[in-house]
Symmetry: C2
Subunit: 329 residues, 2 copies
């Protein structure tokens, strides 16, 4: 198993990307190809005293920055770590690709170079979030901001497969993110999508609401990429804001400081529960190849776990299962 | 000042609605007309030992339930507390109306009966949320789920006015909720809306992202009602989920319980900060009349504060200011 990793993408690249890759090859039975600035990577491998044979370097001279327009940058920067990394998968020199860099550029390069699975019209980004009962999968959180109803049903199929084979769920339930539960709710687009889901063979439980992202009402939540992206960023921001409120309160008085001392372990466990780094990355599903996208702020733990999940997606043949699922719609 | 209050709407109606109304007339210089089941209201007023002259009852025999289809129920239930309450405003027998009942029905009855302010094409529901610096206003969170770009600019004008005259902000800044900050981001709808805002006289700061709902980056956030509704419900749900995680952790071990004792005051202050009951209701803006919508779960404090904010909206002539704002676009 060989995972290509964009060494240059993410807020803490290349340092924490390389640390994460080193941890991954030490903990899991796989190899990593670091794509990027050869000299910088070599220096960091040396600094981390890694001299094993499980990490290789594939040199690339360009970097697509976080705020560059995806399609244009992919076309112009042919020697970027993202374009080169995807090409390794295309040529079967790597089994999967992970990047914590420009999400749009990764999605664009992957779609152009690897293509989509037969029957899939658009790729979708799926994320795993903790809920009151367990975990749920949300798709799409930003790859496709102007979808058709059929795209959302395809996301449902991909969510079903990913939940079964990676998250080990039996007959995962699928909800459609809407503004009310009744099937008459929402825009015409939502009603049309609801009807298509009703006709599918998926375990469709109907519309769910924003509150159900964390309630555990269903295993998978399907939404359009615009709404999903807003919901994801709202959630991240709110969790951080509440933590800042808590810190401010705690530090403002003696009792608070005392209480926080006793609560340290509890708070740590909650942080672990809601930490995106536990899953590390978000699979870009629908691509004819395995591509994992990391949070811009990915730390070494997130990188390590994203590499692990990418490897599992390859091992468990998620794409073959999606193709089978498409045949049975 | 006379505020009509739907005594029958909300999860805790009529009990907590009536408690809130009693608190409001005791604390503020205003009268309340309770609309609903006369016998039930009289019984609760008696139970609460209220015998003053600041509360009147306007009897109505029907109730629009939370899950009834708005337009249909408003048409059929002519003697419902929502329809009757709105009519009191229409006939100038009340200055404003508050309901914690079926939001869609309130919006529908208000639009049909009172009409819209000149130049406003759709009403919008605005909510106030705490952020890291202060508070911000988000509009629309569900009245208009399939808006045109012009509707969003009108929401911007209403948000500007409400922030100035109710939230006491000087030259409030307005952001458009999108999936990235660059003006090239988002759907064609978002780009068109962005261009319209650029041409307006509003203090438009451009696109903002989901993370900015709580960052305090701008005073007002404008969004389409579908996205706003999802964002609102996601936020509520996440805040509750994190609190449940915290409680579970705390109760699972001795150190946690001990820490929580010391932290009780800090947690109370945070709860107060993020408690929607502090503002009580969400103004339905754009209506030719003052209408305030409460959370289904409104408690007596929320009802009391919603009545206060409705009275302030009347006193500070928010609708006149919106009409002036519309002339200056």
């Amino acid at each position: 198993m060989r995972i290509a990793v964009d060494a240059m993408g993410g807020d803490y690249a290349p340092e924490l990307i390389i640390n994460g890759a080193i941890q991954a090859v030490k903990e899991f039975n796989l190899d990593v190809v670091l794509v990027g600035d050869k000299a910088a990577i070599e220096k960091l491998l040396k600094k981390n005293q890694y001299s094993g044979s499980h990490i290789e370097i594939f040199p690339s001279s360009e970097v697509i920055e976080m705020d560059e327009p995806p399609a244009l940058s992919v076309r112009r920067k042919r020697d970027s770590s993202i374009v080169r990394g995807i090409e390794l998968v295309k040529r079967n020199e790597a089994d999967a690709f992970f990047s914590a860099g420009n999400t749009g550029a990764v999605a664009c390069a992957a779609t152009l170079s690897l293509g989509l699975l037969t029957g899939i019209e658009r790729p979708g980004i799926a994320i795993i979030v903790p809920n009151l009962k367990n975990i749920s999968l949300i798709i799409d959180v930003g790859a496709n901001i102007d979808p058709k109803p059929s795209h959302l049903v395809q996301y449902g199929i991909m969510a079903d497969v990913y939940s079964r084979y990676i998250l080990n769920k039996t007959n995962p339930s699928i909800g459609l993110l809407n503004i009310g539960e009744e099937e008459s709710k929402g825009t015409d687009f939502m009603k049309e999508t609801h009807a298509l889901f009703e006709q599918s063979r998926l375990n469709f439980i109907g519309n769910v609401e924003g509150k159900d992202l964390f309630s555990g009402k269903c295993d998978c939540i399907v939404c359009d990429g615009f709404v999903g992206n807003v919901a994801l960023k709202v959630s991240e921001s709110l969790a951080e804001t509440l933590m800042i409120f808590l810190k401010r309160e705690i530090m403002s008085n003696f009792m608070g400081k005392l209480g926080a001392m006793f609560l340290r372990q509890s708070l740590k466990r909650i942080k672990k529960k809601v930490d995106y780094a536990e899953y590390g990355g978000a699979p870009l599903l629908g691509i004819n190849g395995v591509v994992m996208i990391g949070h811009g702020r990915s730390n070494s733990k997130a990188v390590k776990n994203a590499i692990r999940f990418a490897a599992e997606e390859v091992e468990r043949k998620v794409n073959d299962k999606i193709l089978e699922g498409m045949k049975k719609i």
